[in-house]
């Protein structure tokens, strides 16, 4: 989808539109729809009864149809394609921006993909295949080929003329790229530059030459981050030979950022990422995404079990200790989760880099000690005065519990903070080192501590 200047969107009256359809006032319907933002029209289609969608879609003007189609949910798109003739499909796909076409193909079953490609113009097919050839989640896979090219020898007037002639079907007319005969990127000019420059000025003299550009194989997340950092409207993408092959616009960068944040959250929750909205994923897909980590974490909980078994005898005599196990393990998990998730987010925002490990360590050490002491004291008071009869034997138990808690909190926070950095350091995704994983490790550590401290103080 291109950055939007034509529409503003928002308010539309679903009832009124339906009424127009029911009363067969198709021309009025078409006019009304032309006024609306394609995003809203797409939403309206999503709400139409499935059997009506195709018929109503045929009412749209050619250009509107393509714009609306690009915004439809993939299930509606598939339904419409099934209802379309080969010719209709060809018209739509040739009209789509190449990045939208690629997204569409990515979501359609292979039979539909074949049919779409068969009916696309040869040049469209070539362009789509070119984009499809780039690795998933790369700059090449999210860029679009529709950008403005100028030559450095042009005058401002000629440049503006060129933009008028060639600009209409481009993703944006606000940034144009200056390339040489080999299409190598030489500079960039904004329409603002042109607006404020003298008509006879030469592009070469006003173009910006210190350009950040992405290469086709850069990670889409990196590109989005750069667009956000420099507040760019659009980022040029060059191939290995430095030839300009596409652009990524800020609106696509926003979508990428949203996707990546969702993916991080899913990983933090020990879910394998599925890039479909929750209600659009099938039950089996969801189960497949959730079971693996549950199993892995369950198996690793064996260690915790083993520790308890080892201390079975002690627990037999001091059953009271058992009552505090969940609280200790829970607090450890929460404390560790807090630091791990903070560090994971900071890493993915680039606020923390693996090089900061010592600063992080030093900070978490102080934070965890303070948190630990507060928690320990609170626990001591609670355990001794509320949970148990305040007698001398229980004084020791309370001491054991609260002492364990202090050390657990410190350990948990250090583990939680360091694991993600370590994982990032070796080039893996830190997001998996969040609460669930950290908790499992901390559970074992805290119990081990608990029993060690207990055997020391209670002389088990």
């Amino acid at each position: 989808m291109s950055v939007n200047y034509e529409y503003t969107g928002g308010a539309y009256d679903e009832e009124a539109l339906l009424a127009l359809l029911d009363n067969r006032q198709y021309s009025v319907f078409m006019q009304t729809v032309e006024e609306l933002n394609p995003v809203d029209v797409a939403e309206f289609f999503g709400r139409l009864p499935e059997e009506r969608q195709a018929a109503v879609f045929r009412l749209l003007k050619k250009d509107t149809a393509a714009e609306v189609f690009a915004e439809l949910e993939s299930d509606v798109q598939e339904r419409l394609i099934h209802a379309m003739s080969d010719r209709e499909i060809g018209v739509i796909v040739d009209d789509l921006f190449s990045d939208d076409a690629v997204t569409l193909l990515g979501e359609m079953p292979s039979s539909v993909v074949k049919r779409i490609m068969k009916n696309a113009k040869p040049e469209t097919r070539a362009e789509i295949n070119r984009l499809l050839s780039y690795p998933e989640d790369s700059a090449g896979s999210v860029m679009t080929g529709e950008f403005l090219e100028l030559r450095k020898s042009m005058t401002v007037t000629q440049a503006v003329e060129t933009i008028r002639k060639t600009g209409l079907d481009k993703e944006t007319v606000y940034v144009a790229y200056v390339t040489d005969a080999q299409r190598r990127l030489e500079g960039v000019v904004s329409l603002k530059d042109l607006l404020f420059a003298a008509p006879d000025a030469i592009i070469e003299d006003i173009m910006e030459t210190n350009i950040t550009s992405a290469t086709t194989h850069d990670d889409q997340e990196t590109v989005a981050a750069a667009i956000s950092k420099y507040d760019l409207l659009v980022m040029p993408v060059v191939d290995m030979e430095g030839r300009l092959v596409g652009i990524v616009t800020v609106d696509d960068a926003m979508d990428v950022m949203e996707e990546e944040a969702t993916e991080d959250i899913e990983k933090m929750a020990a879910i394998l990422p599925t890039d479909k909205p929750y209600l659009k994923t099938s039950v089996s897909e969801t189960v497949k995404a959730r079971v693996p980590w549950l199993l892995i974490l369950m198996l690793s909980a064996t260690v915790t079990g083993a520790i308890i078994t080892h201390y079975e005898a002690a627990l037999g005599t001091w059953v009271v200790l058992t009552a505090f196990m969940p609280m200790i393990m829970g607090t450890g998990g929460n404390a560790g989760g807090q630091s791990s998730m903070t560090i994971i987010r900071s890493l993915s925002l680039g606020e923390v880099v693996p090089g900061d490990v010592l600063r992080v360590l030093w900070k978490e050490l102080r934070v965890s000690l303070l948190c630990g002491i507060v928690m320990g004291l609170a626990t001591f008071v609670k355990v001794f005065l509320i949970d148990l009869h305040a007698d001398s034997a229980n004084l020791i138990v309370a001491a054991v519990v609260s002492l364990t808690l202090v050390v657990t909190v410190v350990l948990a926070k250090l583990v939680g903070a360091l694991l993600p950095i370590a994982v990032k350091k070796v080039g893996l995704d830190p997001a998996v080192m969040a609460s669930p994983f950290v908790t499992t490790i901390v559970d074992a550590l805290s119990l081990l501590l608990y029993f060690k401290i207990a055997s020391l103080l209670l002389g088990i």
Copy 2:
């Protein structure tokens, strides 16, 4: 910060810049810096030794200085202000975009704020005070007052002239707003519209009148979401009387989205949100943000403890049961966390609304049953064949454990999915209903189940 067309940013040679400074080649340094993106220059300043920052900053040209200043980390900003004369401060603050000025004031201690306001031009001060009067995180608090206004009676040529005359110090020249004598918003025209329209066409005939605009008190998150949904470059903000008072640009929307995602993640990790980067928050701030939830969750873990105490006798005779408690509670927590965090994210992306509660319930029911059965079977095999001697007594124990696990997973996922929706329904923030909170509830439920099932099958 305005959407960036002037700069492309990226590559700059820190060593070279430092060398220029050390060799006192200040004019060359200034030229080089002029070529760079203010974001990069700000980064360079952040890395300079603190005592050099002020002196080097004085080398910058007036406009560059303001642009760079807006991009500096707040601690650097504060240091520079302390080193500046009242006149210098006045120049900077009058040159800042109003939204950047407001952000700056938000991060400075009150003494500095007083000093800044004292030295700002009266009109700047008025504008800043106007923006400061809007609630935190509202559209009014993130908008900027520098936007282009046109009259509907103008011709395209006149409009372009007006933009040339007034556009240079505006946040964007690509979208202009048509207002009446009372500054009420009547329409919007993009520079693209003007570029492709006939020179003598009247603005009224080409302007877009179906406009979504935010009101000053809308939540910044809503505005950002709309900008992202409609791929807008900029969103107009009107006051209660429908007068155009500001605009929010896509780059600010991106920052808002990033902030909000971070805030959600912090809440999911049971942390009180702090809107500063991790390494910029003091130890005490971090502790204050983390301890409250740790305490609350610890206290609520008392319930779990009470349940165990209640079954102390049983545990005394069947100590083996204790060994599986961490695994059951852990799996329950993880299973619940998976669904709660998925639903929380879907809610904040608007993919799920409270009205979908039945669809969610039905989906989670099937998902959790499948997950539960898989986990239960795996556990049975593991517990019976690996953890214990495969004898008839342990057959029942294995049955108890795996049966508990099945029910726990189902319960955990239902609780995890429904809690956030319920909380959203009553108008609170669902993000707090994530793993830590869900885990605490599920811990208690699963243990209760465990012991109930145990007493049934083992006849405790």
